[in-house]
C-alpha cells in the first residue's frame, strides 16, 4: 500500500489559557491520498479549524500544545522536522485557500503586487529565483487558470475594486502560484452568494481534477462536501466520529451524530424531518 500524501495520525491538541487547560483534539487521524478530494466536516467548535491549523503549522504554541501524534506530508513528519524544512513546504507544496476574501487580501496593495510578493518568497524558500517579468508572467498564467478573463486588469486592481467572487478567485490563484500538490480550502465561498459559491466550487473541483491536486476541504456545509469531495471525515467534539466514501455516509450514516447532522439539513425536496432528536 502506498503512503498517502498527507497523513494525520492520532493528533491531540490542548489549549492552556489563564491556567486552565482544555483538550480540543482527541487522537484525530485522517489520510489525504494524492489526487483525492477529501472533506473534513463539523459544526463550530468541533475542532476542524484547529486540525487545519496544526497541519499548516499555524497553531500558536502556546497557548496551543500538541500533546501527541504525527503529521506526515509525503512521508516526512512535519512536527519533528526542522522549522526551515517545514517553511519550505508551507505555501509551496501545500497551500491554503482562505475563507474570507476581504480580510485575507491587503487593501493597500494591488493584486499583482501581492501575488508577486508571495511568489518571490515562495521561490526564495525553494532556493529559486525569477526576474520580475517572469514572476508577472506566472501571475498572469494562474489568473487565467482561475478563469479570469482580463488578468492584466486584475493585477492592477486593488482588492476593493473586485467583486466577492473575483476576490475568492484571486485567493485560489494565490494558492496555485507555486504549484502545490495539496490544497487545503477553509470554507471557500461561504461568504458569497449562492450562485457565486456554485461557480467557485465548480472552479475548485475542475482545477483539482485538471491539475491532479489533492484537496482537503474544511467545511460545516454538508452540501459543499457532497459537491466537492469523494471521501468524508465527520468531526464532533475533537474526534473523528465517522469516515468513509461520501455517497455511503450521506445515504447510510452509521454514527448517531452524523445521522442527526444529516437529518438537520433542510432539503430542497421539502419534508424536513423533525429535528427534535438532534444532539449538539
Amino acid at each position: 500500500m502506498s503512503f498517502p500524501l498527507l497523513r494525520v495520525s492520532n493528533l491531540s491538541v490542548e489549549f492552556s489559557t489563564y491556567g486552565r487547560t482544555s483538550r480540543v483534539l482527541h487522537g484525530v487521524s485522517l489520510d489525504v491520498p494524492a489526487r483525492s478530494q477529501v472533506a473534513l466536516v463539523g459544526e463550530s467548535g468541533s475542532g476542524k479549524t484547529v486540525t487545519m491549523k496544526a497541519i499548516m503549522g499555524l497553531l500558536r504554541q502556546p497557548p496551543a500544545r500538541i500533546t501527541s501524534g504525527e503529521i506526515y506530508y509525503d512521508g516526512a513528519d512535519l512536527l519533528t522536522m526542522p522549522e526551515k524544512d517545514r517553511l519550505r513546504l508551507r505555501g509551496t507544496a501545500m497551500s491554503m485557500v482562505f475563507q474570507d476574501p476581504m480580510s485575507s487580501l491587503n487593501p493597500v496593495f494591488t493584486v499583482g503586487d501581492q501575488m508577486g510578493t508571495i511568489l518571490k518568497y515562495a521561490d526564495k524558500r525553494l532556493g529559486r529565483s525569477r526576474s520580475r517579468t517572469e514572476r508577472m508572467a506566472r501571475v498572469h498564467q494562474v489568473l487565467e487558470q482561475v478563469r479570469m478573463r482580463d488578468p492584466e486588469r486584475v493585477t492592477q486592481a486593488f482588492p476593493i475594486m473586485l467583486s466577492g467572487g473575483m476576490r475568492q478567485r484571486v485567493l485560489i490563484a494565490m494558492a496555485l502560484l507555486s504549484e502545490p500538490q495539496l490544497l487545503i480550502a477553509d470554507e471557500p465561498g461561504t461568504a458569497l452568494d449562492v450562485t457565486t459559491q456554485a461557480q467557485i466550487l465548480k472552479l475548485l473541483k475542475d482545477l483539482v481534477e485538471e491539475r491532479g491536486l489533492a484537496l482537503l476541504m474544511i467545511t460545516h456545509n454538508l452540501g459543499v462536501v457532497r459537491e466537492t469531495s469523494n471521501y468524508v471525515y465527520v468531526m464532533n467534539k475533537g474526534t473523528i466520529v465517522e469516515h468513509g466514501e461520501a455517497a455511503g455516509i450521506f445515504d447510510n450514516p452509521r454514527d448517531p451524530y452524523t445521522r442527526s447532522l444529516i437529518d438537520a439539513v433542510p432539503r430542497l425536496t421539502g419534508g424536513m424531518r423533525s429535528s427534535g432528536e438532534v444532539r449538539a
Binding site: 478563469r147 472552479l203 438537520a264 430542497l268 419534508g271
Partner: protein, 294 residues
C-alpha cells in the same frame, strides 16, 4: 374574503449613487415596483441574493426607511399613518444575534425594552419569564449577559424580545444564517411552534433556498429589486419558470440524489456556471432571435 396581514403595493425605493466628493452621479433602484401580500398565519419567503433589495423591503416594513412610492398595509392599516403604534404590530428578528443584542444589558433588560416602550403595566418579572419560557429558555437566563449564551440561545432571546409586545407580524431577516445546522433546525422548530400558538404571520427573508422550501408556504424570488417569480413554494421549486430562479436552484449545494435530480440544468458558458447577468442577457438574445425568425 380574508384580509391579508401584510399587503405591499407597488413599492419603490431608490438610493442616490455618489462619487468620492459626495456629488450625486445617478441612482440605484433598490426596490422597483414590488407588490405581494401575506395571508394571516402564513409564512411568505422572500428569496434573493445580496443587492436584490430584500433587506430594503424589510426596512421599509419596519418603518426604518421611507418608500419613494407605493403603500404598505398592515392588517388593513396604512403603515404611513400608523405612527408609533406600528411597532406593536410588527417586530423584526435580525440576522446576527451577536450584534443585535446589547452586550451591556442582561437578557431580562433586553427583553423588557419593548415592554417599557409600549407602557407595559403588569408584572414585568413575570412577563419576562413567560417570554423566556415561550422560547424554551429557563427563567434564570434573565440575569445573564449575551456573552454567556450560545448563538442559538441569543437568537431565542432576540425572538423573545420581538414577541414581547405580542405582534401580529414578524419580519425574520436571515434568522438562522449565523447558526450551525443542528441549532438552525431547532430554531426553525421553535418558530413553527410559536406561529401556531401565537397566531403569527411571518415574512421570512433568506438566501437559503433549501430552508425556504421547508419553512415558507409562498415564495417570491427577488432579482435586482423586482419579484421575478412568485407562487406556492412547492410549485416554484419544482417547476421554476424564470431563468433566474432556475439558476438559483441549480446553484444550491445539496446532499441527496433526489435533490440533485430536482435541480434545473443550466447551460455552462465557457465551461463555467454563468452569472445571473450573463444568463439573462443570453436568454434575451435567444428570445430576440426566435422573435425575428417567428
Amino acid at each position: 374574503m380574508n384580509m391579508p396581514m401584510l399587503e405591499i403595493r407597488n413599492l419603490q425605493k431608490s438610493f442616490p449613487v455618489r462619487n468620492a466628493f459626495g456629488r450625486r452621479i445617478g441612482e440605484v433602484r433598490a426596490v422597483d415596483d414590488v407588490s405581494f401580500s401575506i395571508e394571516k398565519g402564513r409564512v411568505y419567503g422572500l428569496a434573493g441574493e445580496s443587492g436584490s433589495g430584500k433587506s430594503t423591503i424589510a426596512r421599509m416594513i419596519m418603518g426604518l426607511e421611507k418608500p419613494d412610492a407605493g403603500e404598505i398595509l398592515i392588517d388593513g392599516e396604512v403603515l404611513a399613518k400608523m405612527g408609533r403604534h406600528h411597532s406593536r404590530h410588527v417586530q423584526m428578528v435580525f440576522q446576527n444575534p451577536g450584534s443585535s443584542l446589547n452586550p451591556r444589558r442582561t437578557v431580562g433588560q433586553s427583553v423588557a425594552v419593548p415592554l417599557d416602550a409600549h407602557g407595559f403595566s403588569g408584572n414585568r418579572r413575570q412577563r419576562i419569564s413567560e417570554l423566556l419560557e415561550m422560547v424554551q429558555l429557563p427563567a434564570n437566563f434573565a440575569e445573564r449577559y449575551p456573552h454567556e449564551l450560545s448563538g442559538g440561545q441569543k437568537q431565542r432571546v432576540a425572538i423573545a424580545r420581538a414577541l414581547a409586545v405580542e405582534p401580529k407580524l414578524l419580519v425574520l431577516d436571515e434568522p438562522t444564517s449565523a447558526l450551525d445546522v443542528s441549532v438552525q433546525a431547532r430554531v426553525i422548530d421553535l418558530l413553527t411552534d410559536l406561529a401556531g400558538r401565537m397566531d403569527l404571520t411571518y415574512l421570512f427573508i433568506s438566501h437559503d433556498l433549501s430552508l425556504m422550501r421547508n419553512f415558507a408556504g409562498t415564495v417570491g424570488v427577488l432579482y435586482r429589486g423586482q419579484i421575478v417569480e412568485t407562487g406556492a413554494v412547492s410549485s416554484v421549486f419544482e417547476h421554476p419558470s424564470h431563468d433566474y430562479t432556475r439558476l438559483l436552484l441549480a446553484s444550491v449545494p445539496v446532499i441527496s440524489k433526489e435533490e440533485a435530480a430536482m435541480r434545473p440544468k443550466i447551460p455552462l458558458i465557457d465551461g463555467e456556471i454563468p452569472t445571473a447577468e450573463k444568463l439573462l442577457a443570453l436568454r434575451e438574445v435567444d428570445q430576440q432571435a426566435s422573435h425575428q425568425r417567428g
